[in-house]
Symmetry: C3
Subunit: 264 residues, 3 copies
């Protein structure tokens, strides 16, 4: 890969909470369609998260239809969590369609650290110029060949010209020149399947509105983290957490974002 930079990129004291409020407001009033090729366990939560936030999902994976569906969507999400033959054939056509139409697409290389076949495919996908790469530490390490330190994220973002959105207890988003750490969230988010996969769909929806993918990714992860925090305050456990999360996302107001954002 490229050599790590001596310092991480600057951390702008930013207007991200206000920007996130405006993006949520526009998604609710104008709508956006996200086509999601995603894993079987993530499809329902992904669709329900988009609907709760004001967007519209479509989810087909059929190779005969993927060009038509991607062509009428405003953004594309490619999640590698279930690589059956149908999805494998469809995702290359979906990426090509998004690029041909100039629409943003987001890559979520789920479990890329668990299988060599998947790692090879994820690298081919990266060559298709996603606007944003959303992954966790182990997935980043597998893709980049080095630990997920801020400098490494920044070097990778610069070299691949992609926004890296690394999720974990503290999310980190960088485009190589700007960097933000988002400390919102709740531990129950790790006890519900596909929360990260579904969150990436909001990243794609915001990228369909906001032309700066760094701001789109940071705002989406902040909104998801804050919805999780609010849900964690009322949930009795991981079962009731899911409903509370979707409810709080649906009801979220700009003041929640301003008051709760923990950025650095």
């Amino acid at each position: 890969m490229t050599a790590a930079k001596p310092h991480p990129p600057p951390r702008p004291a930013d207007d991200l909470p206000e920007a996130a409020g405006r993006l949520l407001e526009r998604l609710r009033s104008e709508g956006r369609r996200v086509h999601a090729i995603t894993n079987a366990a993530a499809q329902v939560l992904t669709a329900n998260l988009l609907l709760a936030a004001g967007g519209t999902p479509s989810l087909t994976i059929a190779v005969d239809e993927i060009v038509a569906f991607t062509g009428r969507a405003d953004a594309l999400l490619v999640n590698l969590g279930t690589l059956d033959n149908e999805r494998r054939a469809s995702l290359a056509w979906a990426i090509a369609t998004a690029r041909a139409h100039g629409k943003p697409w987001v890559l979520d290389p789920v479990f890329v650290d668990a299988s060599p076949a998947r790692l090879a495919l994820a690298r081919l996908c990266l060559a298709g110029s996603p606007a944003i790469l959303r992954c966790n530490r182990s997935e980043f390490a597998a893709l980049a060949g080095e630990e997920a330190a801020p400098q490494a994220l920044s070097a990778f973002a610069n070299a691949r010209r992609v926004v890296v959105a690394l999720t974990g207890p503290v999310d980190q988003v960088t485009d190589g020149s700007r960097f933000v750490a988002i400390a919102n969230g709740h531990p129950l988010m790790t006890r519900v399947t596909a929360m990260g996969c579904a969150a990436t769909a909001l990243v794609a929806a915001f990228a369909a509105i906001e032309p700066d993918p760094w701001r789109a990714a940071a705002c989406a992860l902040m909104v998801v983290g804050i919805a999780g925090e609010i849900a964690g305050e009322v949930a009795q456990g991981p079962g009731s957490f899911v409903a509370a999360f979707l409810d709080s996302l649906h009801a979220m107001e700009a003041s929640d974002l301003r008051r709760r954002a923990r950025l650095s």
Copy 2:
């Protein structure tokens, strides 16, 4: 298509709420199995809706098994929302099996307006004589080639000898000679994925009991709309709405139907 009729069919001041209560009572006491070839995002909610209403789902899509599963079901639901190769191969055999056994089947041409391949397949399915076609306005327009006005629904129902059950803020059900509009429901139903797909499974379950498919479809959509209304009164948002919807369907009494039905 055929010429539109000068007037829509009559709107019988009907005993539909009582009929719906009896159908629900019979489903709970006698049970019915619905085999559903449905899209991946709808499978869980479809199964849980059937179980909450007293029915039994089966969901396999494997071509080697579809004849055995459809043959022992009481009704078939074909939803075109995920047209992978396996489902595409299976649905023709499932329809043939339902017809051979004289069992009712229901077609849900999801997103048929979004892809030419899907529209062509939906037309082939329609030629297999479903008892009921459940769709929304855009899907009807794509299939029929004209706007979803009451006269057009009626003409289509007459020409194809199918009950048309059009869902939206007000549902409309016609067999060409009878027509009912159902104004029950709640806006949160559009913020949960696959609510319409799952509702169609109750249409199929009722069609397995009630030999008149117009009454079966109208009663099922009324029950679903009223369950949605009750849920909307207690839910905090789209997340808690799903659980509240299934709970209210499970607990629904004949008196809820009589008191809340808004038919015209």
Copy 3:
């Protein structure tokens, strides 16, 4: 099959509630990964049940990846509920991988009574020496060719050298020499899709910790039954039951197990 024994095996007045508490504690503190090849309607609940109990799921069904994923898991669950071509190809490799690594695997022959193709496949799977067979009465009868009486379960377990975990209003678990009946549970568990399928994932997770598969299976079914009982006391219906079930599993304490276990 083999001749039925004259008497069922002994019913040890056992320390199962204490053992179940220790297994749950170890799963929460040490974690275990279960790879589940399971049906489409069961994937989300299976993953969420494992996460609520402290485990980690992986769910891929892709034949190119199944060896890598099964190889890094601590146990394997094979559920026959959706036998599409991809799953059919993958499950043989998954079973071979689990055996090669000496990891326990659990067979759930869903609906094996409904299709001859599935019955033939289930018999082939049984020849791959699962540690535990989890099924209901009709599935057992189809597999064994006789009614699911305690003697028949015991004879089958002895002949096949497999623990039989038969679920129903009262669960029965035998390895041919030991037998326990577990009367915990709640009627709403039958009104939620895939509860039995998901429960089997906890059987697999416990089998990854406890080398005695009879104890692992009995403890897991007891934990699930008691979580269901607690949930049934607070749920308003089958919709709210699912969340309450996951919440009570997540919060379960050893004292709940001691106080509520109904074993014989």
